[in-house]
């Protein structure tokens, strides 16, 4: 195995093997990433850096390794989206309303990672309460995409809501990161930063200790530089959790072991409804390229139809705000987080604290959610949206009698400029047009880098799988990864900044 020249260029798998083989110490890795993060502050990918914690955990890992007690992720430095509650480490969900909230508990997913030996580098920036597709709704300011268009100095968004995690992975500021995905918040930023991101089946990862956005849609997942890395990380994030009633007791397979099985004989569906009006030719061509690659590797391509796809985005923008309006009611300035000064009475305290604490996009969604649940409108909006959800899931169930997995574009376009879409919420919402359907159906979806635009910006393809069949997604994504041979890297322009 030829190792990269810089420690921060290691993939998670490479670092794991090197650490286990004692070729590299965990402390060396942690030190390298701590420095890379400090150098990359212009990207604003992290909201909280935890260098002391990283070194402390790394040193402890090195002791275990020396004693021959290495665990699967021993000494591997990771970045954690700021939506995960981390014990003793400030957790803000990208919002002002949480103030300096320091959780006295650790989310199940991150606890699983620490139990597997991983090392925490810090908390990554994100859209406020995971509401956004560009990381521009964060109270901590926007994140810049490590990628820039060829011959351009314009700062681009990293996608969202897991924009900080995506930027940290793409900019080699960590070996891998955690993200969460409610409507595309892992896959869309992964696609526009040239990284891999998977939203597992709903129930695969525990939601306990993750600040809730829309409970019936939220799922945690890995964001990595390679498909193999996602396979490794998901294995150690996933678990059934007695503290989350919606987590599901299904064995978590060794995804990595199955990775190279190829796609020969795999039936891959191409849903015609994903060919949307106004889709850029680049996306169309990329999709066709993906089809050709898979066909060349022996997959069977099947044209299929998911007739209710067009209702997915509006349905999502009813269900998600409705749940959010209720989930965010607990941020009231009474027990923790931001509390407004000078309130006259309790109602005034609520109104002032929430007006000051929540940003515009969050307020917009709370209002939409409150409206669609209010008496007289519930049946017209929320109840109907739930019925459509059932129809959307039925579309998939029927299609999965004919195919094993579906291939679609991941996003309708590449990374766009900072501020380009903030004035028009609907154009922003359209970024998730290919991803929200998967959340509504509770199915797993993976975004994998597949090529560059003419301007040299990354684009991704998406596979959608059957429930709890992430293994097939990894295999299929690996096939694309191999064929695309996506080796492009963003120039590290921020180091000079």
């Amino acid at each position: 195995m030829s190792l990269p020249s810089s420690l921060t260029d290691f993939s998670l798998a490479e670092a794991r093997d090197a650490v286990h083989a004692k070729k590299v110490s965990s402390k060396e890795l942690a030190t390298a990433f701590v420095k890379a993060i400090a150098d990359a502050r212009p990207l604003n990918a992290f909201v909280t850096e935890t260098p002391e914690k990283a070194l402390e955990m790394a040193v402890a890992s090195d002791v275990r390794i020396a004693h021959g007690e290495a665990r699967p992720l021993e000494g591997l430095p990771l970045a954690i989206k700021d939506l995960f509650c981390t014990k003793g480490v400030k957790t803000t969900a990208g919002s002002h309303i949480l103030g300096n909230f320091i959780p006295p508990y650790e989310s199940t997913v991150t606890q699983n990672l620490w139990d597997a030996g991983a090392v925490m580098l810090g908390k990554t920036n994100m859209d406020e309460f995971a509401m956004g597709s560009s990381n521009e709704t964060s109270y901590h300011g926007p994140v810049f995409n490590p990628w820039r268009a060829r011959n351009s100095n314009q700062n681009l968004v990293p996608g969202g809501s897991s924009g900080g995690s995506a930027a940290a992975v793409a900019g080699n500021l960590c070996l891998a990161a955690t993200g969460t995905d409610t409507g595309g918040s892992i896959r869309q930023p992964a696609a526009v930063t040239g990284t891999v991101g998977i939203k597992p089946t709903y129930g695969r990862c525990s939601r306990w200790g993750i600040v809730a956005f829309a409970s019936s849609l939220d799922q945690a997942g890995p964001m990595t530089r390679t498909v193999r890395d996602s396979a490794i990380l998901l294995k150690h994030m996933a678990s059934v959790d007695p503290k989350d009633s919606t987590s599901v007791d299904v064995p978590v397979p060794d995804y990595e072991a199955d990775l190279e099985r190829g796609v020969k004989g795999l039936r891959i569906g191409i849903p015609k409804e994903y060919r949307i009006d106004g889709m850029p030719p680049e996306i169309e061509q990329l999709w066709q390229k993906g089809i050709d690659w898979l066909k060349a590797q022996g997959a069977e391509i099947v044209d299929v139809s998911l007739p209710h796809t067009k209702y997915a985005l509006p349905t999502y923008y009813i269900v998600a705000p409705a749940e959010a309006s209720s989930n965010l009611a607990r941020y009231d300035g009474v027990r923790y987080g931001h509390r407004a000064e000078g309130a006259e009475d309790i109602v005034d305290l609520y109104e002032k604290s929430r007006a000051e604490g929540f940003g515009k996009e969050v307020q917009r969604r709370i209002m939409i959610g409150t409206y669609v649940l209010s008496s007289g409108y519930y049946d017209a909006y929320y109840a109907r949206a739930q019925k459509i959800r059932t129809l959307i899931l039925r579309d998939f169930t029927e299609v999965y009698e004919k195919v094993d997995v579906l291939l679609t574009p991941a996003t309708p376009g590449p990374a766009f400029g900072i501020g380009e879409k903030t004035a028009d919420p609907v154009s922003m919402y359209l970024n998730d047009v290919f991803t929200v359907t998967v959340n509504l159906a509770g199915l797993p979806g993976i975004a994998v880098p597949a090529g560059l635009t003419e301007n040299g910006l990354p684009l991704g393809l998406q596979f959608i799988g059957k429930a709890f069949d992430e293994a097939t997604l990894f295999r299929a994504a690996r096939a694309i990864e191999t064929a695309a041979n996506f080796t492009a890297k963003p120039a590290h322009w921020w180091r000079a900044a």
């Binding site: 949480l98 959780p103 006295p104 306990w208 200790g209 209720s326 009611a329 609520y350 519930y378």
Partner: protein, 496 residues
């Protein structure tokens, strides 16, 4: 108060329905592992879930579900194998999540019934539904001059909301409903029924309609035959329920007779002033924006599990009463004895010694309960055990002591304790049935009162005077039956 109110313009009928919040008897809360003990230090029984911390998720407590099912079965109600938890959204400092988890559209228990034993009739009150929900915390407004404090110990405690149909027709029936429901819950062990600790609170819906309206409602199910109702919130005793209904019905009749209309609203009962006051009208009511809680899956029960619970159900008041009546008790005595679980248990413990039911019931109702009431003691706090009382009844039954001595004996055991049999032995309280000793005493009384002997011959009813004198002379220990027989023979009175 009867079922009708006489007004100036005619007769009015009272119609009452009730929503009772009963705290489920369980060591842990509905969706968290925090403890539920009453009277703990403020905020000492609060989990991260109960405090509405970010990222916390509810997990249903199986014990609470079992208790709700047990209650449903005790109310002879339909158990819904599929039920759903919803969120009821509103802001209040003692509601940390910003919503209460409750069952709105699909409750765990459907229709059932409760029988009320009123003076002259037994009334069947329909149960509409029973659902589970979280309790809120408590706001404390009296701790600080310009701040309110919040105690979250109750936050997340499991409640059953039991909703009756509007089948009660008087304030007595309303109070009887609450009393009977409490009794059933306590028999079942699903709620301790401590109203002064807030374990049971009633919301009472009162309306009045013109005479005949209720019958039309029952015949058609059409609520338009009933008047507009007002809901009186959080009434916490049987007596207050009765007083609140009386006041409220009268208030509504007065308004209607003055040509006014009743506004549907929530009212508060002020027990000091004995009146109800408006809290908020229907227009001010919250829009709770109910929707299914996405953190919880629908609650699906296994019929076999429900059947297991059904098999483990204890004997309930109605069944116990029927059994006691069959054993010889009057309906009245049986009703009194089964009303409180503790009385019933006490009585059963007496019967377990093998004494006769009727004698035991008479003794309890006439003697022991009287003494308890006078001393202001609950049956569980009384100084005489069921076994001791049973021993006294047994000694009366087999003529070891007289009924009069029995009362003295109870006084002794009450104040000094001790085994009644041993006390009787030690203090020579045994009844004298030795005829020669009694004959001697009778003869002595006759010899000493020649005047009275003449009088009794003319007026045989005066024989009881002689009985009293003989009993006095024997220190009450003579068997009264034997005394009477000898007296009649000696005085030459006719046998009865």
């Amino acid at each position: 108060m009867s079922k009708t109110i006489k007004g100036q313009t005619g007769d009015w009928e009272i119609v009452v329905g009730m929503e009772v919040h009963a705290q489920i008897l369980s060591n842990a809360k509905l969706f968290s592992g925090a403890a539920t003990a009453f009277g703990a230090e403020p905020n000492s029984q609060v989990s991260f879930i109960d405090a509405g911390m970010p990222g916390m998720l509810p997990v249903i407590n199986r014990k609470c579900v079992e208790q709700a099912v047990r209650t449903g079965l005790g109310l002879k109600a339909q158990i819904n194998l599929h039920s759903v938890f919803d969120r009821k959204n509103y802001f209040y400092p003692d509601l940390p999540q910003g919503y209460q988890i409750s069952q709105y559209k699909s409750p765990i228990v459907g229709e059932g019934e409760i029988l009320l034993d009123m003076k002259d009739e037994t009334i069947k009150v329909g149960i509409e539904r029973l659902h589970m929900e979280q309790d809120a915390g408590k706001s404390l407004h009296d701790q600080h001059p310009d701040a309110s404090f919040v105690d979250l110990n109750r936050s997340g405690v499991a409640l059953m909301e039991i909703v009756s149909k509007p089948h009660m027709r008087s304030s007595e029936e309303a109070a009887a409903f609450l009393r009977k429901l409490r009794s059933i819950l306590r028999y079942l062990g699903t709620c301790d029924g401590n109203m002064d600790e807030g374990s049971m609170r009633a919301d009472v819906n009162v309306s009045v309609c013109r005479a005949g309206g209720y019958e039309k409602f029952r015949a058609t199910g059409d609520f338009r035959h009933l008047g507009t109702r007002c809901e009186i919130k959080n009434v916490n005793s049987m007596r207050f329920v009765q007083m609140a209904v009386e006041y409220e019905a009268r208030r509504q009749v007065d308004i209607l007779e003055d040509g006014g209309t009743i506004v549907q609203e929530t009212r508060l009962y002020d027990s000091k002033a004995n009146e109800t006051r408006s809290m908020r009208s229907k227009e001010e009511a919250h829009d709770y924006r109910y929707f299914p809680d996405p953190d919880l899956l629908p609650l699906v029960l296994d019929q076999a599990w429900v059947d297991d619970i059904a098999r483990s159900l204890p004997e309930l008041p109605d069944e116990k009463k029927a059994r006691l009546v069959k054993a010889g008790l009057s309906a009245y005595d049986a009703t009194v004895l089964v009303a409180e679980k503790e009385s019933a248990d006490y009585f059963e413990a007496m019967l377990a010694t093998g004494i006769e039911a009727k004698a035991a019931a008479n003794w309890l109702n006439n003697e022991y309960f009287g003494r308890l009431n006078k001393a202001g003691l609950a049956i569980t706090d009384g100084p005489v055990s069921a076994q001791a009382n049973a021993a006294i009844v047994k000694m009366v039954a087999d003529n070891t002591i007289s009924g009069k001595i029995a009362k003295d004996l109870l006084d002794i055991v009450w104040s000094e304790g001790g085994d009644p049999v041993a006390v009787v032995e030690a203090r020579g309280m045994k009844q004298v049935t030795d005829t020669s000793a009694i004959e001697k005493a009778v003869d002595a009384v006759i010899a000493a009162n020649p005047q009275k002997v003449e009088e009794v011959k003319a007026k045989p009813k005066m024989a009881s005077w002689f009985t009293g004198q003989v009993m006095k002379a024997t220190g009450g220990k003579a068997n009264p039956g034997v005394v009477n027989a000898i007296l009649k023979q000696r005085l030459g009175l006719p046998e009865d």
